[in-house]
């Protein structure tokens, strides 16, 4: 069980993720959610990170409408925080390695989506979805790399300081 303080924090984190997503939604595949979940997964437990992911995905569905992409969001973002949780003890504060990982995940985002498409609508649909979206995956990879490289260190420092203050 979470304390009320923790629940409020997690809710705020999820709301922040939504605000970050919506604020940059006019730019195709340029987003700060990957960076935000990376920062959170570095300071929170896996369970807490998952709560943020699930609340964020539900909020996204409320804003943009329910569709098969909501299901994809649930597991793809969960997979991202899982990977971060798994690697944070090795990568630590190396922003370049996080940026590379973020770039790789950004590039793989369309492929992961296409796995779900293939399962739901057939193999060919999955392949077509993936190939048609590769240009967006390239943009996603580049934007993730640049944003994480520049923003990871200062934001990580700030978040750690604030969390210590909030208990």
């Amino acid at each position: 069980m979470f304390t009320v303080r923790k629940l409020v924090l997690l809710a705020l984190f999820a709301a922040s993720a939504l605000a970050l997503q919506v604020s940059l939604s006019f730019l195709p595949n340029v987003e700060l959610v990957t960076l935000w979940f990376l920062l959170l997964a570095c300071v929170l437990t896996f369970k807490e990170s998952l709560v943020v992911v699930f609340v964020f995905s539900t909020l996204e569905a409320l804003v943009w409408g329910f569709g098969d992409w909501v299901v994809a969001y649930l597991w793809i973002w969960a997979l991202w925080v899982f990977i971060v949780q798994l690697l944070k003890q090795f990568i630590k504060d190396n922003s370049h390695l996080w940026a590379l990982l973020g770039a790789f995940y950004g590039f793989a985002f369309g492929f992961l989506f296409s796995i779900q498409h293939a399962l739901m609508y057939g193999f060919n649909m999955g392949v077509i979805y993936w190939i048609r979206g590769i240009s967006f995956d390239i943009i996603h990879a580049f934007s993730n790399y640049s944003l994480i490289l520049i923003l990871y260190k200062p934001l990580s420092k700030l978040l750690s300081t604030l969390l210590r203050k909030w208990g």
Binding site: A99, A103, I134, S135, I138, A141, L149
Partner: protein
């Protein structure tokens, strides 16, 4: 900070290169819905001389327009007789240096296909301007004195 600027500059180069490569391959893959092979050969006593053997993607409806564009791309002159609007369209008089000088004795440009459904069902290809193209079609144009 300087290191990060260099890294982002390198990433930008990789970004532009990968987007360009993707667009190049996608454009190549989408150029035309049909893949058609054209073989142009000249009958010779010992072995046929292959003048051209190309496979290209196209959206052209008829063989005539496709053949014209392929030969133009390959730098080969083509000479037709008649008009596209004629009952059987145009017929080929010459490709490159191989031109029918006397239509009564030949050699002539004939063509055939064992893949085009219309040619197969008719038992012959009727004329370049009234032969529709299908995906995976192969056409052999032969400069020959025998038919």
């Amino acid at each position: 900070m300087k290191k990060n600027i260099i890294r982002i500059a390198l990433a930008s180069i990789a970004f532009i290169a990968s987007l360009s490569a993707y667009n190049y391959f996608m454009r190549q893959g989408n150029e035309g819905s049909k893949e058609v092979q054209i073989i142009i050969q000249v009958d010779q006593a010992d072995q046929d001389l292959i003048v051209l053997d190309v496979t290209k993607r196209t959206d052209d409806e008829m063989l005539g327009t496709f053949l014209e564009s392929v030969l133009e791309e390959e730098g080969l002159d083509v000479e037709f007789a008649g008009n596209v609007t004629d009952q059987f369209g145009r017929y080929i008089v010459g490709i490159g240096e191989h031109v029918t000088k006397d239509s009564a004795v030949g050699p002539w440009w004939l063509f055939n296909s064992t893949t085009n459904p219309d040619c197969v069902s008719a038992g012959f290809c009727p004329g370049v301007d009234i032969t529709p193209l299908y995906d995976k079609d192969i056409f052999i144009f032969d400069f020959t004195s025998s038919y």
